[in-house]
């Protein structure tokens, strides 16, 4: 049963058609890598799925629930969109941590704001906050950040910042976690550290979609690889299929350039 389904998603900026009908699907617990040269529309695809851009047409389903429908998206209210937003998480290339909050507050801020909307919040406030804090501790521990809880973002390395950003996304318990080139802003050693964390999330059964230029990572970790070129999915399949037996000449050309 697919947990993510994207049907014929299209998006243009003015006359520039950036997504020309993207369809894909992903099963629960699987990891999908999206590769492709810069400008092929990878970021735009992720931003459309995460409501940072509004697609022009197409459909997006998460867990059988339609979160976006190009036919009637105008009817969506801000609150509804917010609810749907929480089913998916996004980790940015530039981390985008909140500089004035320490690591722990970065991770818990949104969760605590969300909890305030619960009907039983007033009655069970202490218990609810305690649970949120405990869960945040556990996630930060998983991310290898238990000793950084009181640090502010500027005191952390890029790799640590990105792990905080991942923890922040996980705290909201998204069904699918998206990464847009999570290591592109990092030095090689820090890249390894972050990729390790993403790998460990896979063993915990997380469903993830990762846009990446790290071909080794894509090959080793993914269940599915998608190669995007000029706003279309040029090739898709298992890592073996895409990396070892690409059927499209564009894929071969891209791969040979990437492995140079």
């Amino acid at each position: 049963m697919a947990i993510l389904e994207v049907n014929e998603l299209k998006k243009s900026f003015g006359k520039n058609e950036v997504l020309k009908g993207i369809s894909l699907s992903l099963d629960e617990g699987q990891v999908m890598s999206i590769i492709g040269s810069s400008g092929s529309g990878k970021t735009t695809l992720l931003r459309c799925i995460n409501f940072l851009e509004t697609a022009d047409s197409g459909k997006i389903l998460v867990d059988v629930d339609v979160i976006f429908d190009g036919e009637d998206h105008s009817k969506h209210k801000a609150k509804e969109t917010r609810e749907k937003q929480l089913k998916i998480g996004l980790v940015f290339q530039q981390f985008n941590l909140f500089p004035q909050y320490n690591v722990f507050d970065n991770v818990t801020l949104a969760v605590k704001l969300k909890a305030k909307e619960r009907e039983d919040y007033k009655a069970n406030k202490k218990q609810i906050l305690k649970e949120i804090n405990e869960k945040a501790h556990k996630i930060l521990c998983d991310m290898g950040l238990s000793d950084k809880i009181d640090s502010y973002p500027w005191q952390l390395s890029g790799g640590q910042q990105q792990r905080v950003a991942i923890a922040r996304a996980l705290a909201l318990e998204p069904k699918i976690l998206f990464f847009d080139e999570p290591t592109s802003a990092l030095d090689p050693e820090l890249t390894i550290e972050v990729l390790k964390v993403i790998k460990s999330l896979k063993t915990m059964g997380r469903t993830m979609v990762v846009v990446t230029h790290e071909m080794e990572f894509a090959r080793n970790v993914s269940d599915k690889v998608i190669f995007m070129a000029d706003g279309v999915i040029e090739e898709e399949g298992t890592p073996e299929e895409v990396f070892d037996n690409p059927s499209s000449p564009k894929t071969s050309a891209f791969l040979s350039k990437s492995f140079e």
């Binding site: 995460n50 409501f51 940072l52 801000a78 917010r82 609810e83 937003q85 929480l86 998916i88 998480g89 996004l90 940015f92 530039q94 985008n96 941590l97 909140f98 500089p99 004035q100 801020l109 949104a110 704001l113 969300k114 502010y152 973002p153 500027w154 922040r168 996304a169 909201l172």
Partner: protein, 231 residues
């Protein structure tokens, strides 16, 4: 003599302080409204705000003081001469100018709100877009994003330029004498006219120095308080 001068200067300084404090009280929030106006997606509002800011920043405060003080009466008078009989204009013509202090205050508030609005706008626009996007993907509402995430970063950025502007305001209050509001320099100058004494004027300068020194310390403290994060 020293005590006479001190008392007179203190009296003038109270007016200075009052003008200073009231200007801040009104201009700080009004500036925020103008800033949101000039960032609005609603074009008429945007252009109105931008035009007002352009005019106010492009003309001397002294001129604005005079216009606010004499303007209503004169405008009312013109319409009267044109034979337009309108209660509003009649009322304006009969005003003999606004009271001095309120009209000075009004001019100062408008002037400083415009300067503040530009500082706010610069501060808000300098926050990376990624901050708001992160809030959005974390499911925060727009107001949560503004108050919980963006605001403090903006404050951190605008404290230094606001400090400069506020120290300028202290000195600008002396312009109130243009329309005979008896602030500290007006009172100091009396002693030149009446007794040929120059030192009260220098003494008045000391009031400004001390007050601005205090403000400088306060702003340095504020900046220090937000040193714990970098943005």
């Amino acid at each position: 003599m020293f005590w006479t001068v001190t008392l007179s200067l203190l009296e003038g300084f109270m007016t200075t302080l009052e003008l200073f404090a009231l200007t801040l009280l009104f201009a700080i929030p009004l500036g925020l409204i103008i800033a949101f106006g000039s960032m609005s997606k609603f074009m008429p509002l945007k252009w109105l705000s931008k035009t007002v800011v352009w005019i106010i920043r492009g003309t001397p405060l002294m001129l604005q003081l005079i216009v606010v003080f004499y303007g209503p009466e004169l405008i009312g008078g013109w319409f009267g001469e044109l034979g337009i009989d309108n209660p509003i204009f009649n009322w304006l013509a009969g005003m003999k100018g606004l009271d001095r202090f309120p009209s000075v205050l009004l001019a100062f508030v408008i002037n400083y709100a415009c300067y503040f609005s530009e500082i706010y706008r610069g501060g808000i626009e300098s926050i990376p877009k990624g901050q708001l996007e992160a809030c959005q993907v974390l499911g925060m509402t727009k107001s949560q994003a503004f108050f919980r995430v963006v605001l403090l970063q903006v404050v951190k950025r605008i404290v230094p330029p606001m400090g400069n502007e506020i120290i300028t305001l202290v000195k600008d209050t002396s312009l109130a004498r243009t329309i005979a509001v008896y602030e500290i320099i007006w009172n100091a100058q009396k002693f030149i006219k009446n007794g040929g004494l120059l030192w009260p004027l220098i003494y008045a300068g000391a009031f400004y120095l001390i007050f601005n020194g205090l403000l400088t310390i306060i702003f340095a403290k504020l900046e220090k308080k937000m040193d714990y994060f970098k943005a």
